[in-house]
């Protein structure tokens, strides 16, 4: 018998999509039965009370979680989000309901052995509820009490060789797509670079020293499966500089209808026979492709590597061999000054151990942002305030047309004195010799 009646939430049990309500309700029952005699370290009715407080929100249309609360583990300034409910008398099981962010392995591959360890830990020392994964990429352990935090951290670091993730004004847990591990389009080892940069900057991740949050995301190619261009202050997107590799036999097989276009992604509807002119050549944004004597030709110099032709014909077209990545900076959600997409900072950089060139770019940007950024000013906002040219200068690059979509619309150029012949120091008396008042 459930502790709280949840007539509203119960209506979210029907329908095909997996019901989080069903899952939590079943978890609540299992905690009460406790067939494995787990020595629960947080209230046994934590799941019941979570359902209870959520039902209350469904009834009165507002949240019942209080604002913040500074809790954490010794020596770290992030990784734990303090959370308390505003009706602790009604729902004591979730009076304290802190979140623990756990660093996920880059690319989010797991063994069942590891996950079971995590489940055992979280069943005993937390609510038994998780997010796989949080929006930034962490494994999120949802709901525990303050005395458990050090215990959880001890267990994670000592027995699972795993650290906490980031929160607050620090480097947030970086995330990558699965990259070369299972994708033919990965232009660099996104998982490895993500892992290496995560470990290189552990201090920045755990100890807040930035004006505000800072996110890294690593996309293996311009398809952008980890959404770095929209969601990270510094976005690393794989690309190449040479030619798309063409297998003309496979092109012919696509044209002849032997291979499904786009890997069969449109199989749920009859779109008719594949038409390479209509589906590939005419859709190329730079019009740099054509058919000649039954062969596909690409003027690679004009190609902007949008990925469409490769996506449509993965067996015929392959990414180039001279690979690396582009770095874009400043993406963020609308708070405060409106949403921003990442802007191109580094058109191309090789990805080679020990990644010194990439680290120089990262550290150049951080140095500038930490010097010039105001409290709670995201990198993108600083770039807007001071201009992209300052960001380019901060990492010591030469401005190139690739940095902009088009040149500026106004001539309001902030010339520097040293750039203007003769300097700015002038004498009015001299001027008046030639110009009467």
């Amino acid at each position: 018998m459930a502790k709280h009646a949840t007539p509203l939430l119960d209506q979210l049990q029907s329908g095909p999509w997996p019901s989080f309500v069903s899952d939590i309700k079943e978890e609540a029952e299992r905690r009460h039965k406790n067939e494995k005699n787990v020595e629960y370290q947080v209230p046994v009715d934590v799941c019941d009370d979570l359902l209870g407080i959520l039902e209350l929100s469904y009834k009165d249309g507002t949240t019942h979680w209080k604002h913040g609360g500074i809790v954490g583990v010794f020596g770290y300034g992030g990784g734990v989000i303090g959370r308390y409910c505003d009706q602790p008398q009604m729902f004591p099981g979730v009076a304290h309901f802190h979140t623990v962010r756990v660093a996920q392995p880059s690319g989010m591959y797991y063994t069942s052995e590891y996950l079971r360890q995590l489940c055992d830990l979280w069943e005993m020392r937390g609510s038994g509820l998780t997010n796989m994964h949080g929006a930034t990429g962490d494994i999120v352990l949802l709901g525990t009490t303050t005395p458990q935090l050090e215990e959880i951290f001890y267990e994670l670091t000592h027995n699972m060789n795993t650290d906490l993730g980031g929160s607050g004004s620090n480097l947030r847990t970086p995330a990558a797509c699965l990259g070369e591990s299972r994708c033919e389009w990965a232009c660099y080892d996104a998982q490895e670079l993500c892992h290496q940069m995560t470990n290189e900057y552990q201090d920045e991740l755990h100890r807040p020293a930035f004006p505000y949050k800072f996110k890294f995301k690593f996309d293996g190619c311009p398809n952008g499966c980890v959404a770095s261009i929209a969601r990270s202050d510094m976005s690393f997107i794989g690309t190449w500089r040479d030619e798309i590799r063409i297998d003309q036999e496979a092109v012919a097989a696509y044209v002849g209808g032997e291979i499904q276009p786009n890997g069969g992604a449109h199989a749920g509807k009859d779109w008719g026979a594949f038409d390479i002119e209509k589906e590939v050549i005419d859709l190329c944004p730079t019009e740099c492709m054509w058919m000649e004597d039954g062969k596909l030709k690409i003027n690679d110099r004009e190609c902007t590597r949008c990925m469409h032709c490769l996506n449509v014909m993965p067996r015929a077209l392959r990414i180039g061999n001279d690979r690396g990545l582009s770095i874009l900076v400043g993406a963020k959600a609308p708070i405060l000054d409106g949403a921003q997409m990442g802007s191109l900072l580094v058109p191309f950089i090789k990805v080679e151990e020990p990644y010194d060139e990439i680290k120089e770019i990262i550290e150049g940007i951080w140095e500038w942002w930490m010097e010039e950024g105001k409290n709670r000013e995201r990198l993108g906002e600083l770039i807007k305030r001071q201009g992209l040219a300052k960001a380019i200068a901060a990492v010591g690059l030469t401005p190139v047309p690739q940095h902009v979509m088009e040149p500026r619309h106004n001539p309001y150029i902030f010339w520097k004195e040293e750039d203007v012949e003769g300097g700015w120091d002038r004498d009015i008396a001299d001027y008046r010799k030639h110009h009467q008042r």
Partner: protein, 381 residues
């Protein structure tokens, strides 16, 4: 409930302390076929909805079965994932960036058997536990935030609205019958932990009432200058007021300048915004992240407000259906929702979807607003 120590001694926090070790190295978790063929993949195809095949240059094949699920998942369900991974996949499993679970096997026959098994597992409440799909030109799982389950600033619930949305759009999760992928995202307030601002369809929680000022405690629990500085429209100023016979330091809010972002509440807990009638949803559409064909683009507000209607948010479900149905019927193959809207013109988008255009949809927030107005005589009747 006796306290059980792991071995940590609070009086000596540094003793044996391990810090700054980061995540586990991902290679420890690679299935053997992934480890062997990393960087050597030749191509992939989607065998059927929810089953991908990746072929390595050396001839190896890996079949991936993708299934959706709630992002909020219990340890019991997680253990069931482990059981499935043990039974079919040598104990390996992975998650996608959109909260899908992927199981990898070595033959199509095994993949199909696994798909059938996954589709057979249901909660006592009736819903699927691991519905297979989410591949190709369809609708995959929704990335989202915490909502009323765990957050202090939401204007709506996340898990509930996502459940409603995926129930409504489920057929497109299991069939690849759309012109291109439609990425749906959900964030329960403007902070957008879920960064929904570049999604084909974004569901966004939004407040519509200015903060209530808790004069009794404001000066004790807030730094007034920070609260003032937090306001992007300069609507907040420091002031003094009479409270229970005493003069207290507090803030005053110019309510007609408030655009309900909640940034002041982030800085000052004495300025709560949430309200049953005030809070609800904004629907945005036409954003994308990929560079494919067209540039990445922001989502645009197409419905200014939908009231919170828990538990099943029927208006939300109806609006999603309207947008997806019009797009599915009208867009060209490979054309993302935003590209379709731009090709036909946004005036046509409102006509085709049947959504109402209101004054709220004309941008008036700073510079970017101008660039969204029509500086041409070219438009459609």
């Amino acid at each position: 409930m006796a306290f059980i120590s792991t071995g940590y001694d609070p009086s000596k926090p540094m003793e044996g302390r391990i810090t700054d070790i980061g995540p586990r190295h991902f290679e420890e978790f690679y299935p053997p076929v992934i480890k062997k063929n990393k960087g050597q993949w030749a191509y992939h195809e989607i065998c059927e909805a929810g089953i991908l095949m990746h072929k390595a240059k050396g001839g190896d094949e890996v079949y991936t079965v993708r299934c959706g699920g709630a992002r909020l998942i219990s340890v019991t369900l997680l253990r069931e994932v482990c059981d499935i991974a043990d039974k079919y996949c040598g104990g390996y499993v992975r998650w996608t960036t959109r909260n899908n679970v992927e199981f990898m096997v070595d033959t199509l026959a095994k993949a199909k058997e696994l798909k059938a098994d996954l589709n057979s597992r249901k909660f006592a409440g009736g819903s699927f536990k691991f519905p297979v799909g989410g591949t190709g030109a369809g609708i995959t799982n929704i990335v989202h935030t915490q909502g009323w389950v765990h957050c202090h600033t939401p204007a709506t619930d996340a898990s509930g609205t996502v459940k409603v949305a995926m129930d409504e759009l489920f057929e497109h999760f299991t069939k690849m019958d759309l012109p291109a992928p439609v990425r749906v995202s959900m964030a329960c307030c403007l902070n957008m932990c879920g960064a929904v601002h570049c999604s084909d369809i974004a569901i966004l929680g939004y407040h519509r009432k200015p903060p209530i000022i808790d004069n009794k405690v404001l000066d004790n629990i807030c730094e007034i200058p920070l609260a003032v500085a937090a306001c992007p429209t300069g609507a907040i100023r420091p002031t003094k007021t009479e409270h229970e016979g005493k003069t207290v330091n507090t803030v005053a809010i110019k309510q007609d300048r408030c655009m309900f972002c909640g940034n002041c509440y982030t800085m000052c807990p004495a300025l709560p915004l949430s309200d049953k009638e005030g809070d609800g949803l904004v629907i945005m559409a036409g954003g994308k992240i990929s560079n494919r064909i067209s540039r990445p683009k922001f989502s645009k507000v197409v419905v200014a407000f939908i009231p919170n209607e828990p538990p099943r948010w029927p208006t939300l479900a109806k609006v999603l259906r309207q947008i997806v149905t019009a797009y599915a019927a009208e867009a060209n193959k490979y054309e993302r929702l935003g590209d379709w809207a731009e090709r036909i013109g946004w005036e046509r988008f409102f006509e085709k979807t049947g959504l109402e255009f209101t004054s709220h949809l004309i941008d008036d927030f700073r510079d970017p607003a101008y660039y969204t107005w029509r500086q041409t005589t070219q438009f459609k009747w």
